[in-house]
């Protein structure tokens, strides 16, 4: 019997499904250190999946042994269970299998779908774009001020002619540096698990919230990296000006999900103009240690003998 372990994992899963993401999304410190916050979000996502599937599995396999590896091995070899197997054991085992298959399946599916859409967009854009003002940037003739990059093996960085017309040289360099940061740090990979979570569990409001937070943090992180590569006396202001010019530009293009409230854009501009102190070293390490522990806790509960 492994009831205590299953209960502990279930409690952890419940915490990670609602209160923890809610607190992390509401907290102010992630804006002060987006990179550390992104690590924490990855840990929350991973530990959440591990603990919910683990809780179901541990309960389902309880009659077969005293630790999950032992019970699993005994079950795989079709050995008779040590304790009577009830209906709820079969139900939780089935649920664990369904959830695991769904999560992995949705992850693979969204990876594949996204990769296909990227390739299609890249192929279409390549016909229309022209060489841009920067060697790695392409120019698309459109009056709206837009800049974006399509990640992948052959990344594509696109600036609209409206963007080039609207911004001065320094601001344009800031935009390109921001997009380059997305590509260099593979931010699309950090978003992928949350796209999958959101698609796999649309009833979980925390999944949507987590995706929104991670998107915002990725933008802030790209802003921070861009600042490091900018010359000029006031790089923070230059980048903020570029953001405001691009956000305020009209011209009949879809506005994008982040713009629904505009709050994400405002947060970026505010932290550029009035930067908060960076997170103290101790707080940084505390957050990172917390993220590691968050991952170790369900792993340990799954592997160690039952309580």
């Amino acid at each position: 019997m492994l009831p205590a372990t299953a209960v502990a994992l279930a409690v952890l899963a419940a915490l990670l499904a609602w209160p923890v993401p809610a607190l992390l999304a509401r907290a102010h410190w992630p804006g002060r250190d987006p990179l550390v916050a992104l690590v924490c979000w990855q840990a929350v996502g991973l530990a959440g999946g591990l603990s919910i599937i683990g809780a179901l599995l541990v309960h389902g396999l309880a009659p077969w042994g005293h630790s999950l590896p032992e019970a699993w091995w005994s079950w795989v070899r079709d050995e008779p269970a040590g304790d009577p197997v009830r209906g709820d054991h079969w139900v939780t085992m089935t649920l664990a299998a369904v959830l695991a298959v769904e999560l992995v399946g949705v992850l693979a599916l969204s990876w594949w779908r996204t990769a296909r859409a990227r390739q299609r967009h890249r192929e279409l854009l390549e016909v229309v774009v022209r060489p841009g003002p920067q060697p790695d940037a392409r120019l698309l003739d459109h009056p709206a001020p837009v800049a974006f990059c399509i990640p992948g093996a052959r990344p594509l960085l696109v600036l609209s002619s409206g963007m080039v017309a609207e911004l001065d040289e320094g601001q344009l360099a800031a935009v390109v540096a921001h997009e380059r940061a997305h590509l260099a740090e593979h931010h699309h990979l950090l978003l992928l698990p949350f796209v999958a979570w959101k698609a796999a569990l649309p009833v979980l409001p925390a999944a949507e919230r987590a995706y929104g937070s991670v998107r915002e943090l990725v933008e802030m992180r790209a802003d921070d990296v861009a600042l490091g590569s900018l010359s000029g006396a006031t790089p923070r202001r230059t980048l903020a000006e570029a953001i405001v010019a691009a956000a305020g530009g009209t011209g009949g293009v879809p506005s994008g999900a982040l713009a629904v409230s505009g709050a994400g854009v405002r947060a970026r501009v505010v932290r550029l103009l009035e930067p908060a102190d960076p997170l103290p070293r101790k707080a940084r390490w505390a957050a990172l240690t917390g993220a590691v522990l968050l991952l170790l806790l369900p792993t340990a509960l799954l592997l160690l003998p039952a309580l």
């Binding site: 969204s110 996204t114 859409a117 016909v127 609209s160 409230s261």
Partner: protein, 117 residues
């Protein structure tokens, strides 16, 4: 040897610049400096047709033309690439989405009142 993408762009430039439908042989002649064979021109034209950039008429020989102006294609692409579906699945990373007029005004005020730093 030019890549297919490069040839696609070169052909589209010719078609966008042309007054009316253009025969494949004329396109080959115009691209003579690249040493492109007629079959290659046809391959690239077929690819461009599949992508929705090119259409042909039924005359003999077939005349090829751009399906829309460069600006129209750019506008159409903007809509597809920046559309909701792409946004939900993080197909691309956009510098910043556009906000409504009220939000834009607030942002400009923020910038005007902000300290330089």
């Amino acid at each position: 040897m030019a890549s297919l993408g490069e040839l696609e762009r070169a052909l589209m430039e010719r078609l966008w610049a042309a007054d009316g439908p253009v025969a494949a042989t004329r396109l080959r002649d115009e691209l003579a400096d690249r040493g492109v064979a007629l079959t290659t021109v046809h391959t690239v034209l077929t690819r461009l047709e599949h992508k929705g950039f090119v259409q042909h008429d039924d005359s003999r020989p077939r005349g090829f033309s751009a399906r829309a102006s460069r600006a129209d294609h750019a506008a159409e692409l903007m809509h597809e690439v920046l559309g909701q579906a792409a946004d939900r699945h993080a197909v691309l990373a956009r510098f910043v989405g556009s906000v409504n007029d009220e939000e834009a005004r607030l942002l400009r005020e923020l910038l005007a009142g902000g300290s330089t730093g």
